[in-house]
């Protein structure tokens, strides 16, 4: 069998005495498109950072393309960070950000070569942001901003694309567009691993999911993995699933109370005889 793009062998990592992730064994093969789901604090970002070589496991090994990382980044991996971590006031244009993706291949001089410019222009055109090349990064919509960082990652020509919450902080339509774009990239042979909090999007857009809560709870197709027992073990809550026409809906079980049990008068003046003017 071919060497997996990512292989975690019995990986444990903790910042202190308590492990954040524990005894993780995980494989991701060439051409796979997978999502990493789990509650906040489950260790999703830590696991990504281990795969990116930003952290060294306290136990076990992380292999990328067959190479033991030992806390060093792999040249085969490109990363798209959460947009919340970006300094949007930084004086940098869209093209300048995208060109950062080519840093391993660029000349020492400060300006990009013709080949660098052509490569970045091609990627930006593919992602529909070429007309924004000279704009400041903050002047773009949420979806376009996400594409800028995706373009930077693609310019690095990686074997594996790692994305941290690419669908966070954008509206549903943009979420859908981003996931479709990633699916198109996956169809060209790109291996993709992303974290997400949106179980419904993951259920209906991702071909493979890993459920994590400190330990790897399950891995497989959403149809097989997103069942109530697994989700309840992952989220330690009351999760319900509903399947219709091949679509999975996931929600938290109602808490046996309504909003009025917590806030007796949630709409000020709603019991007044006179209706309030709009």
């Amino acid at each position: 069998m071919a060497t997996p793009v990512v292989e975690l062998r019995d990986v444990t990592f903790g910042y202190g005495a308590t492990p954040v992730v524990e005894r993780i064994n995980l494989h991701l093969h060439h051409g796979q498109f997978a999502g990493l789901v789990g509650p906040s604090g489950a260790g999703k970002t830590t696991l990504l950072r281990l795969i990116l070589g930003s952290l060294t496991p306290t136990h076990g090994s992380v292999f990328v393309d067959g190479m033991d990382l030992k806390g060093k980044p792999s040249p085969c991996v490109a990363y798209v960070p959460q947009v919340e971590t970006i300094d949007w006031n930084f004086p940098v244009t869209v093209e300048q950000v995208v060109l950062m993706g080519r840093i391993r291949h660029m000349r020492r001089v400060p300006w990009p070569s013709r080949a660098d410019k052509d490569a970045s222009c091609e990627i930006m055109t593919r992602l529909g942001i070429a007309d924004k090349a000279q704009r400041h990064i903050r002047d773009l919509s949420g979806g376009q901003q996400q594409r800028v960082f995706l373009a930077r990652a693609l310019l690095a020509q990686p074997d594996l694309l790692v994305l941290d919450e690419p669908t966070a902080g954008v509206d549903m339509k943009t979420q859908e567009n981003i996931l479709h774009l990633l699916a198109e990239l996956n169809c060209t042979g790109m291996t993709i691993l992303m974290t997400t909090h949106d179980l419904n999007s993951a259920a209906n857009h991702l071909p493979w999911v890993f459920c994590l809560n400190r330990r790897l709870i399950a891995a497989g197709r959403p149809d097989d993995v997103f069942v109530e027992s697994t989700l309840n073990e992952t989220y330690r809550g009351n999760i319900v699933t509903y399947r219709t026409n091949g679509i999975i809906f996931i929600a938290e079980q109602p808490h046996h109370h309504t909003v009025r049990d917590i806030i007796p008068h949630p709409v000020p003046g709603e019991h007044d005889d006179k209706r309030r003017p709009c």
């Binding site: 960070p81 930084f90 391993r104 400060p110 903050r138």
Partner: protein
Amino acid sequence: MLDQLLQPFQFEFFRNGLLAALMVGALCGMIGVYVVLRNMSYIGHGLSHAAFGGAVAAYVMQWNFYIGAGLWGFAAALLINQTTRRYKIGADAAIGIITTASFAVGVALISRVRKFTTNFEAALFGNVLGVRSDDVLVIAFTLAFAALIIFFFYKQLLFITFDRDVARIYGVRVEWVDTLLSFVLAATIIVSMQTLGVTLIAAAIVIPPIVARMLTDSFSKMMLLAVVIGALNAVVGMYVSFIVDVASGASIVLTGALLFVASLVVRSLRMRAAKRAGQVASDVLLPLPSGGELFE
């Protein structure tokens, strides 16, 4: 009028001083771009104080000023970096502890050996007119060295300044480039000490990039503007210093402060004009970088 402007040039000390101030202004503006964008505005202030400790120690040990103060300042910069990264102590706290302790070493040495207090007044408050030809050469060498480092590491420095963690993932040798920048920053502070004075370097490092930031959204343009503004500011400040007869460091910093106020006025006028024209203000001008406060 022209005669009046040219009159100070007949004095060698003025020619040396002006050249030194021009180069120091450009150098501080250039390095200041990285300092301001990394939200480390206070580091110039801190490192100059740390280097003061080194300068006094060098004097006592009869070492060369530049070597003593330079090594001391570089060590302080590295120590700040390491303390911040390893022990998760905020950069402001690390700068506060390490540089003040280093300054205190200088003060303690002065109080023990009470024979050179006046020499260090120049280091504290700046005395550009006491700059000699060999000082000018050292400043020129440092400027050329800093420009070369920035030229050859421009892309790496930009990536690290924009997003340090991600730069490492993309193969940038972050720790190495950071060390290089610390070295250039320490060298900048040391060669600027005599011109601007320990207490006033911070403003020369922070004001030109902040003014430049208000004029452009592009990193490369910000860098060029900061260098030009820094140099011009120093030249104007030097003339004012000569004419009004005040300490050179103070007049350069006050000129910079006026420039900063003027740029704020221009900025608010342009924002008002944009509002009237119905544009979104941020399309015209951007706010200051989040950590760009003058003295944090």
